[in-house]
């Protein structure tokens, strides 16, 4: 047993630790490159557009369905206790604290993170990044920094929209369809949700997820093998790693924040 596992474990550590180191260097270098003279606000805006605006429709549809399902499931669970008046609170709390940030981040990883990895990977394999360096333009400032900062900026905004649309979806099912009293729905929600404890903490989670997902996506793109297969594999890895990271980090953040 140990003959098999110990060398393997050693190998994994040997491989992973320096990789984590280089990924961290990329993150810090990329975030710090906002101060580089080649950082461009226009590039950042462009990324906010591709990462954020173009993900908006997906988020709204997903949020609407999530909220409606929450409405149904919550209703059937609460009706046994005669506590359907708590349905609004249940929906809002689930969305604001957990489902909003987590689902936004997972969808963002699938929609925007994968595209980021593929884009940067193909820029690397077609020597565009090397060409940039040869033109004395630091790719950290021109390519990495706008994407990292756009990711951090965009995910909380997507999340707050997801939260609101989700609650509206829950309302659509609870009040007109299932016949919960509308006044109770909102009043209960209002008396149990706090701005700081629930809404802002949820958005803080989204901010962390945005950073991690974008970081992983950019890092996978930069370290992809410069071939078509290499970029494809990196794209898959980017989505898988980002999703797992979001779920793991969610556990830690939940334990810390709530």
């Amino acid at each position: 047993m140990s003959d098999f596992f110990v060398p393997r474990l050693g190998h994994v550590v040997w491989e992973t630790v320096p990789r984590l180191g280089s990924a961290t260097r990329l993150l810090l270098g990329g975030l710090g490159a906002v101060f580089d003279r080649h950082f461009s606000l226009r590039q950042w805006l462009r990324q906010v557009f591709t990462l954020g605006v173009l993900s908006l429709a997906l988020m709204i549809v997903a949020a609407l369905f999530t909220g409606m399902v929450l409405g149904f499931q919550g209703y059937y669970a609460l009706v046994h206790f005669g506590a359907t008046s708590a349905l609004g609170t249940l929906i809002a709390l689930s969305l604001l604290r957990e489902l909003g940030p987590v689902l936004t981040a997972l969808l963002f990883a699938g929609r925007a993170g994968s595209a980021l990895t593929a884009e940067i990977g193909s820029m690397k394999s077609s020597e565009q990044l090397a060409a940039m360096e040869m033109m004395a333009v630091n790719p950290l400032a021109w390519v990495v920094a706008p994407r990292l900062w756009a990711g951090i900026f965009v995910v909380p905004i997507l999340c707050v929209i997801f939260d609101l649309v989700g609650i509206f979806g829950g309302y659509l099912v609870s009040v007109p369809v299932l016949g919960v009293d509308g006044g109770t729905f909102w009043a209960q929600m209002q008396s149990n949700i706090t701005l700081r404890g629930d809404i802002l903490n949820g958005l803080f989670k989204a901010l962390c997820f945005g950073l991690v997902v974008t970081w992983i996506a950019v890092w996978q793109g930069i370290s992809a093998r410069p071939t078509a297969e290499g970029v494809g594999a990196a794209t898959t890895r980017s989505v898988v790693m980002a999703s797992l990271a979001v779920l793991g980090l969610d556990f830690i953040l939940t334990a810390l924040l709530f």
Binding site: V53, I161, A187
Partner: protein
């Protein structure tokens, strides 16, 4: 996509985010002002408010007519002092009672008003003296078991006055 179009879209996107946050904060969270801000104030002392909190509804016959704006402790008699704001159209007689009830088994608590029959009305800033505090379910169950064991059946509750 021209730079100008991108600027527009990003602007709309950011505004949407801010608007969504504002709606969440005001409509869902509890940042908005009290809904009965123009109502008149009544006080009531309870021996136990249970899990009543700010913004809990005040109901009469199941209809919300006001809300709790403050819960404090009266240092003179060690009773919880609840401040409410009531819809100004609803005038309550001075022998009105107030109880703290729970919606359903696990629902939230609210103040239920039982109007009295006296001709004079409570003035703004007045105090409801006939109060019944929140029922403690543990006590209730304990008492029921005790009653069963002793073969009697008496109603429970913690009436004051």
């Amino acid at each position: 996509m021209s730079q100008r179009a991108i600027d527009w879209w990003v602007g709309i996107f950011v505004l949407l985010g801010i608007a969504a946050l504002a709606v969440l904060a005001l409509r869902v969270g509890n940042l908005s002002g009290f809904a009965y801000g123009n109502g008149y104030v009544l006080h009531a002392d309870f021996n136990n408010v249970g899990s009543l909190k700010d913004r809990s509804p005040v109901k009469l016959g199941g209809v919300t007519i006001g809300e709790v704006t403050h819960i404090g402790m009266n240092p003179k008699n060690f009773r919880a002092e609840v401040t409410m704001q009531i819809d100004p159209r609803i005038k309550l007689p001075i022998d009105t009672g107030a109880s703290i009830y729970t919606q359903g088994l696990l629902g939230e608590q609210y103040v239920a008003i039982q109007p009295g029959g006296m001709p004079q009305n409570l003035q703004p800033g007045g105090t409801i003296t006939l109060t019944q505090g929140a029922v403690n379910i543990d006590q209730l169950i304990g008492q029921m078991v005790f009653d069963k064991a002793s073969g009697t059946s008496s109603s429970s509750g913690t009436n004051t006055h």
